[in-house]
């Protein structure tokens, strides 16, 4: 792609579809420019992510989709050279970089599941209760309830209910990832960010997680980054395609996969590059 193409290309619409514009936006990104040191990772990205839907971010490696995801719970704060030069991110209508926003409180609202499942080397029970314990919850009964509720919510309860006090690392890869999802929902967030949650899982474990995502979206807003286009097609309501730090196209998932508006999107989903 040469630079003139970029200029002539019409910018992607912020809304997935005019029909959904009326739906309340959970996350609103306005004209975001993001840098790692001198390198610009996101160019003028604007996107509105509706509540209680699954939104998939697709695109080739290094296109900025994970960077944008990690902006939503400000995990990029951990990276020294990361900075936002322009634009705003609003969640629940609040600018998350406003001085009044406590990043701790933000992260309780915006949970995250990582690419590499990262259960703590503690028991399954302690993994789930971790988020509450750091908030100072000590009531054993309440913790027990949360553990059961979260594990049921992550479709893991029946598999682990007899070994809650054994190490979370003793679980299989797929179970570990669902444990991480259970851990995230234990603190009752409103949004769950998933950064390639199935990239290390086999097809059966993947389908279990995908099933779970479908169940979760009734209660949570889910944003999922994935390299697997079939996965985006199967489990998302709308899909955003990123390329070289720009949002190329954002639309309902059926539309992206059957009738993409942009040539680049079509090239990517038909496997011509990426």
């Amino acid at each position: 792609m040469n630079p003139t193409d970029t200029k002539t290309m019409q910018s992607a619409t912020a809304d997935p579809d005019s029909a959904d514009a009326a739906a309340p936006a959970m996350i609103e990104v306005e004209n975001l420019d993001f840098f790692y040191g001198q390198a610009q990772a996101l160019h003028d990205v604007s996107i509105r992510i509706p509540a209680n839907k699954v939104t998939a971010f697709i695109g080739p490696s290094g296109c900025g989709k994970s960077t944008l995801l990690r902006c939503f719970n400000r995990m990029n704060d951990l990276i020294d050279v990361a900075r936002i030069d322009a634009g705003r991110i609003k969640i629940h209508g609040v600018d998350i970089h406003h001085a009044d926003v406590d990043v701790i409180a933000l992260r309780r609202q915006v949970g995250m599941v990582f690419q590499k499942s990262n259960p703590f080397p503690k028991s399954i029970y302690e993994n789930i209760t971790y988020g509450l314990q750091i908030q100072g919850v000590k009531d054993r009964k309440q913790l027990d309830e949360v553990v059961e509720k979260s594990l049921r919510g992550a479709a893991l309860w029946d598999e682990v209910k007899d070994r809650l006090h054994t190490s979370g690392l003793g679980l299989s890869g797929g179970q570990q990832q669902r444990l991480c999802i259970a851990r995230a929902i234990a603190v009752e967030p409103s949004i769950i960010l998933m950064d390639e949650p199935c990239s290390a899982l086999d097809p059966i474990a993947t389908s279990k997680v995908e099933e779970l995502i479908q169940q979760l979206k009734t209660k949570y807003t889910i944003v999922i980054v994935t390299h697997n286009m079939q996965q985006a097609g199967r489990c998302s309501d709308q899909t955003a395609f990123f390329y070289l730090g720009k949002l190329i196209e954002y639309s309902k998932t059926e539309k992206i996969f059957t009738n993409p508006a942009q040539k680049q999107t079509e090239d990517y989903i038909t496997g011509r590059f990426g």
Partner: protein, 370 residues
Amino acid sequence: MHAPANPFAGQKSSSRSIERVAFGVCRSATYFILLCAACIFGTILFKGAGTVFQTTAPFINVPFLTQAPETLFVFEHEGVKMKMGDKEFRRFKEEKGLPDIAAESYVYSSGGIFPCIVGTVLLVVGSMFIALFIGISSAIYLNEYSTHGRFVTFIRLAILNLAGVPSIVFGLFGVGLFVAFMPLLQNFDNPAAPTLPVGFGHYLNFSGWNVCLLSGWFTLAFMALPVVITASEESLKAVPMGFREGSLALGATKWQSIRTNVLPYALPGMLTSSILGIARVAGETAPIMFTAAYVVRDKMPWDVERPLDMLFQGVMALPYHIYVVSSKIPQNEYTERVQYGAAFVFLVIVMGIALTSILLRIKMRARYRW
């Protein structure tokens, strides 16, 4: 016809002989180290065992481990050559009514090394706590909190340089800072030193802590710091980033995440490597000879009026005692006993510390595995 030529036949070439030479050099260098180690350990174990062990029950020379050093008196009595420690000799003179009996005296050659063992243990334990606290805290700051910039690079450079400072310089630094300058909180204005009144009739007198345990602890701790910081940072780096991200993403503060999800897994590595480093430093004579060690002291460290006075007294220490008995007193056939005995005991103590840290690592590693 003749059989086909062997395609794998060895060829004489210079690279073949260079190979042999290189192999030989590397191997003999390794064997040379082994030889040195065997000489050191062999001599000390062989000669020291004679002092520490004995052939009759209880097979261990208990007085050597439980008594203070004494002067040895050698004399002839009724045609028999006798050797006695100071106290025994005095009792003997009284009993026999021979106050003027002629005897040759050899300092420190009788009795034991108990005060030195106690002093060394106190020095090691105290400096270990100080070094671990300062070292682990700064490793956490450098690895978890600080942003990478010129200032942090400068700090790391300073730590590296600290590791290269000779031990005698640390000793002199300890004299300058702790022995001669650090403030004491006293209820009078010391006219001989800079003073800072703090109210309630008390003054901070910058007269130094003198030669004492506290000065020795800090000097040794500072010397061990580079090892402790480096080891602690390595252990922190070995903890997967995912543990930190996982807990931060759940709304943990940075310190909560470090305390619950980083430190427990880094601690085994931190402790073991640090303890080994401190054991190494504890063997140094130079840093303590001006700051904490006495050639001889009759009182034991716990013979104090107030508990706090324990910190402000000098102690005898094994490395310094070995130095004194092997270079500061006239050498003769009677001094070898203490020299090798003390070296033997010292070696056993240092090995004990090392062994403890290794066992600790095995135990803690088994508990936290990922």
